[in-house]
């Protein structure tokens, strides 16, 4: 028994590779057409968004409706980088890439600085980090861009187009995810101080704010290429199956490792009892910020993937009604179950956007928001632990604790 479970990591890698190859072959052979290709990519994106939500809500207990806001930031952020690039403008690549690293650098400085003072208020902290971010991006735009813009253009231009395209896409995804992370960090500092319910309302308003801003990107914000409420077109369709698979696996592995680490313990402890967590010496603020930022990064990454598959973005796809989708999926899959979220996320898109769209008459979409809540209600009554309950794939399961393993091996020796 023990031997068979001895290496879940091995099985996980093998299983992952098998799925990767099968889908790749089916795609190459043309058995899966563009419609189903889109469904698979969409499923992966939604699942990444939802895994992020599960980290925030399921594992950390902070009820959030902001996931689609970060999804939108990632999508528009990444799309803007590649859009500008294909229009011979390196500004997106340079500003996002260097702005991110500069922000991280300044954050490190600010946190060292703040640690010297006791009793810093939340608003001071918030202001300090906000100013650091503004400074970082100001430097990136005003100082670095004029110098590094042409350099980047020549350097990347010297490479074959297929290679430079992949590099730009990588930076775009990183940028989208990073922007989502930065925004969630700044937003999270004051808002996570609120209790869970207030946090839910604050994140809901966040999603609404993002949607309104996206509606006015060309008038209020200086991004005419996003075309406001008319929707952004002309995004290069660069998302391929290896990218989808790669980012998806990255999200799963990062989340799994985070949860299995000692930070993961603190995340769970805060969910169980914030006061008790503080009394055993957990930095509660950090234990809430960390999953919130990680979850938002996942959403941002998914946004980049989705944007470069659809090649079209519209603010309406990120309105707050949509942000209930990941919430419903999380509840279906089980709060605090990664396996449940993954399976439910894919099934959700496969059924609702795939099969049902093909086979049901066209009016059914109107009924969705009658049917979803009813299903959700039934779910809550009949199976509140989620479709898959406590089950986790062996690789994702929390490994046995050291001392427990000792106890277990003593027992097995006795049996032997």
């Amino acid at each position: 028994m023990l031997k068979r479970l001895k290496n879940p990591t091995g099985y996980f890698i093998l299983g992952g590779l098998a799925i990767f190859l099968v889908v790749q072959i089916l795609l190459s052979a043309g058995i899966l057409n563009n419609f189903w290709r889109g469904i698979i990519f969409w499923g992966a994106a939604i699942t990444m968004v939802t895994l992020g939500l599960n980290l925030i809500f399921g594992f950390n207990g902070q009820f959030s409706l902001g996931q689609y806001g970060f999804y939108a930031i990632g999508a528009y952020g990444a799309a803007d980088v590649t859009y500008r690039w294909v229009h011979e403008d390196p500004s997106g690549v340079v500003v996002v890439f260097f702005g991110l690293w500069l922000s991280l650098l300044l954050y490190a400085l600010v946190s060292v600085l703040l640690r010297r003072f006791y009793g810093i208020t939340v608003m001071t902290k918030f202001t300090a980090y906000l100013l650091a971010t503004i400074l970082a991006f100001w430097v990136a735009v005003k100082v670095l861009l004029p110098v590094l813009g042409p350099v980047t253009m020549t350097l990347l231009g010297a490479l074959p187009e297929a290679v430079s395209q992949q590099i730009v896409f990588f930076i775009a995804l990183l940028g989208g995810a990073g922007l989502a992370g930065i925004v969630s960090f700044i937003f999270g500092i004051p808002v996570l101080e609120l209790g869970s319910d207030y946090f839910g309302i604050a994140t809901l308003s966040f999603t609404i704010i993002i949607k309104v801003l996206l509606d006015n990107t060309d008038t209020l914000l200086p991004f005419p290429e996003m075309k406001g409420a008319r929707g952004m077109i002309g995004i290069p369709q660069w998302t391929t199956w290896p990218w989808v698979f790669g980012t998806f696996m990255l999200v799963v592995v990062v989340m799994r490792n985070l949860l299995h680490s000692s930070s993961g313990r603190t995340i769970l402890a805060v969910r169980e009892d914030e006061r008790a967590a503080e009394l055993v010496g957990i930095d509660v603020n950090w234990a809430k910020i960390l999953p919130f930022v990680m979850g938002s990064i996942f959403a941002g990454l998914a946004g980049g993937i989705r944007a470069h598959d659809m090649a079209f973005l519209h603010p309406q796809s990120f309105n707050f009604i949509q942000s209930f989708n990941p919430l419903i999926i999380v509840v279906f899959g089980g709060l605090g179950s990664m396996t449940g979220t993954i399976l439910t996320g894919f099934i959700w898109i496969f059924l609702l956007e795939g099969l049902l769209r093909l086979y049901l008459p066209s009016g059914f979409e109107t009924w969705r928001f009658v049917v979803y809540p009813l299903i959700l209600l039934l779910m809550m009554l009949l199976r509140s632990e989620g479709l898959f309950g406590e089950y986790e794939l062996p690789f994702l399961r929390r490994s046995a604790l050291p001392l427990r393993r000792k106890v277990a091996s003593e027992e097995s020796e006795e049996v032997a």
């Binding site: 006791y118 930095d283 106890v407």
Partner: protein, 237 residues
Amino acid sequence: MSILEIKDLYVSYGAIRALHGISFHVEEGEIVTLIGANGAGKSTTLRTISGLLRPDRGEILYDGEEITRLGGDAIVRRRLIQVPEGRRIFAPLTVLENLEMGAFTRDDKREVQASMEWVFELFPRLKERLEQAGGTLSGGEQQMLAVARALMAKPRVLLMDEPSMGLAPILVEEIFEVIEEINEQGVTILLVEQNAQMALSVAHRGYVLETGSIQLEGLSAELARNPQVREAYLGGG
């Protein structure tokens, strides 16, 4: 120098002031008790010391260092540990995991193991229940687990908030015996209790708290003889 010194502490919940400038001190190796009725401000005092509440005014000195504005986690790292009121164990985690959470701020594995064994000596019953979820324990066992979890942090000073609350008399005695034993092993204890009789029987000194200010102080034996205390807290006289 006192290990813990509270100077002129004012604490409010919004507009309601809970502590009106209390001052007291705890010497290393002592058991000191704060007794008083509901709403006297006993738990508020402990929470403020632990960094869960911010005082409006006043100072908290721990081992000579001012800790008034430190966060809860920083205070735990200085080995000033609170056993919270109402136990607050991690219900879904097993007893073992709860104990491990208690040692969260420590990274010396061998010493953590030693603390674990010490805890099992004090509470042999917990050892039998290692794999059981904390929430399924009886009230008395949960209280023991809460104390044990605090001990896993290797406290220099232990702040105990109503350890006898909701326990059967026999269990109360058991808990108090353990408190004395922990103290004999060198841990300073600040004990907050409604059960004044029990508290005064184990403590060296005591303070009587009434509506946010200290009314009386003295050696436990003196307080136990004091007619005012007898009337108000020890059931007449």
